[in-house]
Symmetry: C2
Subunit: 241 residues, 2 copies
């Protein structure tokens, strides 16, 4: 791998969970809304269910049961269902839109900004998320994420882990797949990128689903494994020497 | 316009000529290559002809006479013709590729980086160029251009001034066309963006084609006109007050 890693020109990052902590951010958004509107529910459950709706919603698009729509639209579909389920009434359209756009205001993991700044000196750093371009652009401004380029599944009208997403990203960057390393907290994302020729780095985020549901993930033998983005920068710098 | 301008959320920028000085950059790339390889030609003429081939090449793609290809590929097509015309022989594939990628290493106008940094505090700043994503991303890293988002005609497989390019950019940013201001040195680009509802700012770059062919352009009455990007930031800040 030593040799393969020296070819890397760009790092593409999964975003939800890998770069930003959606769980605590969405819980905080919910609690803020709850305080303002006197809504007393379990916002941790709300956040987890919102996120749990995301995979099945994308699958419906993937199978053609829903017409193409971006993640903002899918988040809103799921939100409407959750508002019913949690018996939340009386929110204005502006309130709902603001809550839905909470996904544009996710907070980075503590190492994310400093790690990306280091990695960016040596590599192109780009998103490669199922989040739509507007969401990722607004989030980058909100969170100070120093991307060189915002790439999204939206550009292909597919969702990860469909191969088109990874193939198109490499082509748009003008690179061969093996010049790109996918960085993600989720083995499925890494496997799918690897299937089209990407190199892979696993950055486990055990707190992705909150402190009461710590998850472990298993790396593939070919993955570089790093505990956070600064450790990833260290590992890649060692490789260069 | 006062009221319309207060709606602006994003500025999209033409790049070649508006943000970067392709003329002097390409002349310098040519001269450097000429010094190394003992090629004594008029690199200013070479640069102007290379650029002059660009519009007709895009038109061929637009009319379906050439299959879709990005600007890197079109630049290379034109380059091969120019190498014949200027009787330049003996360049390796690596030399030609390096010269062709000179378009990834264009230098910004002196006000561009500082102006963009100011504008970026208030607005999303994005490219909206016929240049491909890889070219624009590499150029941003080379030149220190602080884009929030790299948007390109490449994403639509159309070229400006086709309306699809502007419409898609607004949609990807999650904005209505009238929330976006197109910034360009070229009235044709502004008119086409205005036709789909964009607001427009003309930043004339009289030296775009070099000091011996200063060009004047005429603004449309609805255009904001600014002499450079800092003047544009001043004008938009005044509007906010």
């Amino acid at each position: 791998m030593q040799n393969a890693r020296s070819k890397i020109k760009a790092l593409t990052f999964d975003v939800f969970g890998t770069v930003v902590d959606w769980y605590s951010s969405i819980v905080a958004e919910g609690e803020k809304l709850g305080d303002t509107h006197g809504i007393d529910i379990d916002w941790a459950q709300f956040a987890l269910k919102w996120r749990a709706g995301y995979g099945p919603a994308m699958d419906k698009v993937r199978r053609g049961e829903l017409p193409w729509q971006n993640i903002d639209a899918l988040h809103r579909l799921i939100l409407e269902r959750l508002l019913d389920e949690f018996k939340i009434v009386g929110l204005s359209e502006a309130d709902k839109d603001h809550l839905n756009r909470g996904w544009h205001r996710l907070k980075p993991w503590p190492d994310a900004v400093s790690g990306l700044k280091r990695l960016r000196k040596r590599y192109i750093v780009a998103t490669l998320s199922n989040g739509n371009i507007a969401l990722l652009t607004n989030m980058a401004k909100f969170a100070g994420l120093p991307w060189d380029c915002i790439l999204s599944a939206e550009l292909t009208r597919h969702y990860k882990p469909d191969p088109e997403v990874y193939e198109t990203a490499a082509a748009l960057l003008g690179l061969s797949p093996n010049e790109v390393m996918m960085v993600a907290a989720h083995p499925g994302d890494l496997r799918a990128s690897q299937a089209v020729g990407f190199q892979t780095a696993l950055v486990p985020r055990p707190l992705e689903y909150g402190p009461s549901s710590v998850r472990e993930v298993n790396a593939h033998p070919s993955d570089l494994v790093a505990t956070d983005f600064n450790a990833l920068a260290n590992a890649l710098e060692r490789n260069e020497k």
